[in-house]
């Protein structure tokens, strides 16, 4: 056995490899199968799971991210709608301009690819290549672009050097011609991709500063959205919808041509048609400017013209104003003078100029006739009058006695006409005199509660709802304050009765005044007439909206009549225009709140707002205007007159401007003049040419034309006449006809007319066969008016028949 074991062990030791091979082969077989299972099947499972997760589970999420980076989204700017005036003038329009963009990064890439293409192994340019062109260099490109765009070459070169940047705006909003030049330059210098012109739009305001605060402007720094006025308020309508072009790009930010593109069309903006009439607006701005110059007005002013029947605003002028095409430029003389002062002030802080500029810009941009409130003064009496008549607490036959002051409890409130005052006056006269004591009495008759109710009903306690941005609020006592039975309350009521110690916005006042004269209808004022789409279809239209009826038709008619008396001989007489029946009310508010922090003007005692509220024709008002000038400069502090001798008051200043304005507007609107007999007498007529006519025909013709005739000579034929045909002379003047007689041609000496009354002047001239024409804007000749200036100075030798133009002035003061 042992032997056997030993042998077996030996055999095993020396066993050829065949023997255990079966076991080893099995091992190899099994292990290879294990590997097969592992690498042929198992490892694929996590891969499949992962692929499923990416391609199915996260498909949308990752795909969206991929698309975001694969596409360029370029905006297609829609055309912004126009703003069109009531008379069809384009006030705002858009045109395509271009931003010139530089990509310094791409410029570098451009240079690198040039190097790759045109440099041989030794770094020498292969100039012999057919498509060779010089290497684009930063300095030369900067130079070329700067010349075209009129920008600083050194700075441009510096910007080209910022190679990490992809987007440098070289120039904004250049015109098409310039863009064409840039494009040519890009072509010539092989700069595509690194410099390009991006179309964008620019807003043009063909009328410049006309109605600036109403129209507003588009701010290119805020995405070309409207700032101020209509541009801001109707932004959505005007802007349209931005379109998009989505193009594929590659990883180097280059557009993939012929790849997919998606267009989303831009929708052009709608046009906004506004109620502003450019002619009326122009008249208003001109009269505002004229008044500011004439009366040395320090803090601007405003004029609103409105259709009293509908509330449509026909014109809305503000001063200071600015050119809408350059909203960041201060052009108003008062504002720019202040800026110059700040700029040259050595003591000023470093940012003083910037601060001042900001203040001035804000001042010129805002529409003060709506954003701000002011003390209405006597113009408010129209409303008080209407309320009192409607309530029946006064009538035309009532008399009021004014001793020059009025006692309210312990307060003594003076009238503008100091003692002995206006004395006895009927209602119409009290209104014409703008008598404060009379109105305090009227206010008292109404009582605080009713008074308050009318203030409310006339819309002074709420916004008018005019479609403009930033309408201001009035400052009025609360109801409980106002009606509380105390002395204080009495004084509130008393001062409110003549329009002082509270503030309303100009738009509120003109809206309320319209209700007084239009039959009692409080209308909602509006500027947007309609909105039309680019094809001209009306999208939206404003219908006149009546807020409420405040007073009756009849009361309104009585008011109109009384207010006409203000212009016809009252404080508003300077607004008189022959042939037009104008009604109105003057106003001067002498104290505003003591605001000493205003940079330009101290709003203290010498700050007077002179205003006039006028309407015409008085029997059927078609236009209502409200003018105000803020702070005419007194000759010396505390003085009542300006250096040009104008008494600072609404009646003296605003009314005369309103007369001229209303005349212009009414003429433009085609309202026919209706002269009274008295007016007819004073009206200027054209002298017919009668030379060559028979004596009888000539005399009759002259008389029919309204002249008186004096004949010289005995002949049958008119051989000469004084004045010559076509001359304008007052109605009823005498015409001299020479019948077969020589016309004396000795010149006559013009007499001095200064200080003479109308009659005296006319007589003095008639003696010399000279004629008088009443000139100037101030056409209402009160009995006290005397000649102030004459067109031909005294002592000049003139031919007989010459017409002498005289202006008259009334030295009797108009205080309110």
């Amino acid at each position: 056995m042992r032997e056997q074991d030993r042998r077996r062990e030996e055999r095993e030791r020396s066993r050829p490899e065949q023997a255990p091979n079966n076991k080893a082969n099995r091992t190899v077989l099994i292990r290879t199968l294990v590997l097969m299972a592992l690498f042929g099947v198992i490892v694929f499972l996590p891969l499949l799971r992962q692929l499923w997760s990416i391609q199915i589970t996260h498909h949308e999420e990752y795909q969206q991210k991929a698309i975001n980076q694969q596409t360029m989204d370029s905006a297609v700017a829609p055309d912004r709608g126009k703003i069109v005036s009531a008379d069809g003038e384009i006030l705002a329009m858009s045109a395509t301009v271009y931003n010139v963009i530089l990509s310094p990064h791409d410029f570098k890439t451009l240079q690198e690819s040039w190097d790759k293409k045109f440099l041989d192994d030794n770094g020498q340019p292969k100039t012999s290549r057919k498509d060779y062109y010089p290497r684009p260099e930063a300095d030369q490109i900067a130079q070329g672009l700067s010349t075209i765009l009129n920008i600083d070459a050194a700075k441009t070169e510096e910007r080209i050097g910022k190679t990490s940047s992809y987007y440098e705006v070289l120039s904004q909003r250049v015109e098409r011609e310039t863009a064409d030049k840039v494009n040519q330059f890009i072509l010539d210098n092989h700069l595509s991709n690194s410099v390009y012109c991006m179309p964008t739009s620019k807003r043009y305001y063909p009328k410049g500063s006309l109605a600036a605060q109403v129209i507003g402007w588009v701010n290119p720094n805020v995405d070309n959205t409207g700032a101020y006025g209509m541009e801001a308020l109707y932004e959505e309508q005007l802007a349209g919808k931005t379109g998009r072009v989505v193009t594929a790009k590659d990883g180097k930010n280059r557009e993939l041509k012929y790849s997919f593109q998606d267009y989303y069309d831009a929708t052009d903006g709608n046009d906004v048609n506004i109620t502003i009439n450019t002619t009326i607006q122009y008249y208003c701005e001109r009269i505002l400017e004229k008044g500011i110059e004439t009366f040395e007005v320090q803090d601007g002013g405003f004029v609103i013209a409105m259709d009293p029947k509908t509330g449509a605003i026909k014109a809305w002028a503000n001063s200071p104003d600015y050119d809408l095409n350059q909203p960041w430029t201060v052009s108003d003389p008062v504002l720019s003078e202040y800026l110059t002062t700040v700029e040259n002030d050595p003591a000023a802080a470093e940012d003083a100029y910037d601060t001042a500029l900001k203040q001035m810009l804000n001042r010129q941009w805002r529409n003060k006739a709506m954003n701000d409130s002011y003390e209405p003064g006597s113009t408010f009496k129209t409303v008080v009058l209407a309320a009192a008549l409607e309530e029946g607490v006064v009538s035309e036959s009532d008399h009021f006695y004014c001793p020059g002051y009025y006692q309210v409890g312990e307060y003594t409130i003076e009238c503008s006409q100091k003692a002995p005052g206006h004395k006895d006056q009927d209602l119409a006269k009290a209104v014409a005199n703008s008598c404060n004591p009379a109105f305090m009495m009227i206010g008292q008759r109404l009582g605080a509660e009713k008074f308050y109710q009318y203030v409310k009903d006339f819309g002074f306690l709420e916004k008018t709802g005019v479609d403009m941005q930033g309408e201001g609020k009035s400052i009025f006592w609360s109801r409980s304050q106002f009606i509380a039975p105390s002395t204080q309350q009495n004084s509130y009521l008393a001062t409110a009765s003549f329009g002082q110690r509270f503030q309303v916005t100009p738009i509120q006042l003109i809206t309320a005044a319209s209700a007084v004269i239009n039959g009692g209808h409080l209308m909602q004022p509006y500027v947007m007439e309609s909105i039309t789409d680019p094809e001209g279809n009306v999208v939206e239209k404003t219908e006149p909206t009546e807020v409420r009826q405040v007073i009756s038709e009849e009361t309104s008619e009585r008011c109109r009549k009384i207010l006409e008396g203000v212009v016809d001989g009252g404080t508003g007489k300077r607004a008189y225009v022959p042939g037009y029946r104008i009604g109105g009310k003057t106003g001067s508010s002498e104290t505003v709140k003591e605001e000493t922090d205003d940079p330009i003007i101290n709003k203290g005692k010498d700050y007077t707002i002179v205003s006039f509220l006028g309407f015409a024709p008085a029997d059927d008002p078609q236009i209502v205007v409200l003018l105000a000038y803020n702070a005419p400069k007194p000759a010396v502090p505390g003085s009542n007159v300006t250096s040009q001798d104008y008494y600072i008051s609404g009646g003296n200043m605003a009314a005369s401007m309103a007369g001229e304005l209303l005349e212009n507007i009414l003429d433009y609107m085609g309202v026919e003049r209706q002269y009274t007999e008295e007016e007819k007498a004073a009206i200027d007529m054209t002298v017919p040419n009668l030379v060559g006519q028979s004596a009888q025909v000539g005399v009759e013709a002259a008389q029919n034309a309204g002249f008186t005739v004096r004949t010289v000579g005995e002949g049958d034929k008119v051989t000469a006449q004084i004045p010559v045909g076509g001359a304008m002379i007052p109605n009823g003047s005498q015409i001299v006809l020479y019948l077969d007689a020589e016309k004396p041609d000795e010149p006559v000496k013009v007499p001095s007319l200064r200080g003479k009354s109308l009659e005296q002047a006319r007589e003095a001239l008639a003696k010399l066969d000279l004629y008088l024409k009443v000139g100037g804007s101030d056409r209402y000749l009160s009995s006290g008016a005397t000649v102030a200036t004459q067109s031909v100075s005294a002592g000049t030798m003139v031919e007989p028949g010459t017409v002498i133009d005289c202006t008259f002035s009334d030295n009797s003061m108009v205080r309110t």
């Binding site: 255990p20 082969n25 190899v28 590997l35 992962q50 795909q63 694969q70 690819s113």
Partner: protein, 397 residues
Amino acid sequence: MAKLKRDLTMEEQLSRGPVDLPFLMLVVILTVIGAVTVFSASYPTALYEERSATYYFVRQAVFAGVGLGVMYLASKVNYQVYRALSVVVLGVAILLLVAVLIPGIHTDRADGVRRWIKLPIAGTFQPSEAAKLGVILYFSARMSKRNSEKHKPFNRRSFLGRALSWLDKVGILEMVPYLAILLVIIVLMKFEPHMSGTILILIPAAAILFAGGIPLWMVGVGGVGAAGLLVLMMTGYQADRIDIWRDPWAHPRDGGWQIIQSLYAIASGGLFGVGFGQSRQKQLFLPEAENDFIFSVWCEEMGLVGAIVVLALFALLIIRGYWIALHARDRFGSLVVVGIITLMAAQVFLNISVVTNLLPTTGVSLPFFSYGGTALVIELAEMGIVLGVSRQVRAAK
């Protein structure tokens, strides 16, 4: 004058057997799909580099043609010659690994990596490719002799002798040459450096040792060792890669870019893909779209369905490869095939794991797909060796 069949030796007759047709077909299909995909994936890059759109494709196609030729030739070689040749191949490979470190021989790159040897026509060549083949052949040759190795007669009287004798008995001693070779290669490639290449040498080497029958406890120790090494690497200077792998979006500029772009590409494909040639991610978003990340382009263009088709082709190829190993005439052939197939399978797995962010980024190319001439020729040559082995598979009875 061709020899008649009866004049051939037995060996010669065997090596004239038919190649394994399924395996051949799979290789050809994958090579063709790969070349076409290179065309689609590479033309934006080619155009961007101001080359002809077909620049990469033509080169790849030429190499594919050459590679298929080489494969045919390799399949004709009686693989038994590799037993003897393996030492030479390994020796040359190690020499090349040393040579590549010498300035002037390796390509000059900005990042200082020295993996490629400049070649006149082919362009570049990675010595690690030779090392892979060398290791596979040598390990297979050595492992196939394993059972005939006699235990060394150590002097049992000395302590050393007894220790060696014990080591021999438990099988550690026989591992020494393998480990020594691997160590030399690891060290040399560390200098390049070339981690992914090292991994791709280690995996088939381990597969051969495993299939060759080394004790299971060694497999366990090896596995634990490899895992330990991996953890070590993750905590070391490779930690950044791990961070990026976990959340590529947190590193969009410093490393995550590639993988983000790859994920976008794959995801954009969805189920059916955007259509052949329609990939948008290859438009210079996806770096190396024609190389390591070519599969992402394929996935984008052909969708999950296309991806599964290619994975299935690979899986079939791998399974068929192991099938050939199982049916090989001898242990050597079997192990060579195991090595080659495992190498390819590892590449497929690693490449697709990287592009799908299953694993942190390593520079492994996708066999038959990724652009690269010499690599493709070598891959096809290796397939040729497998086919050569398949010729000697005994016909089914």
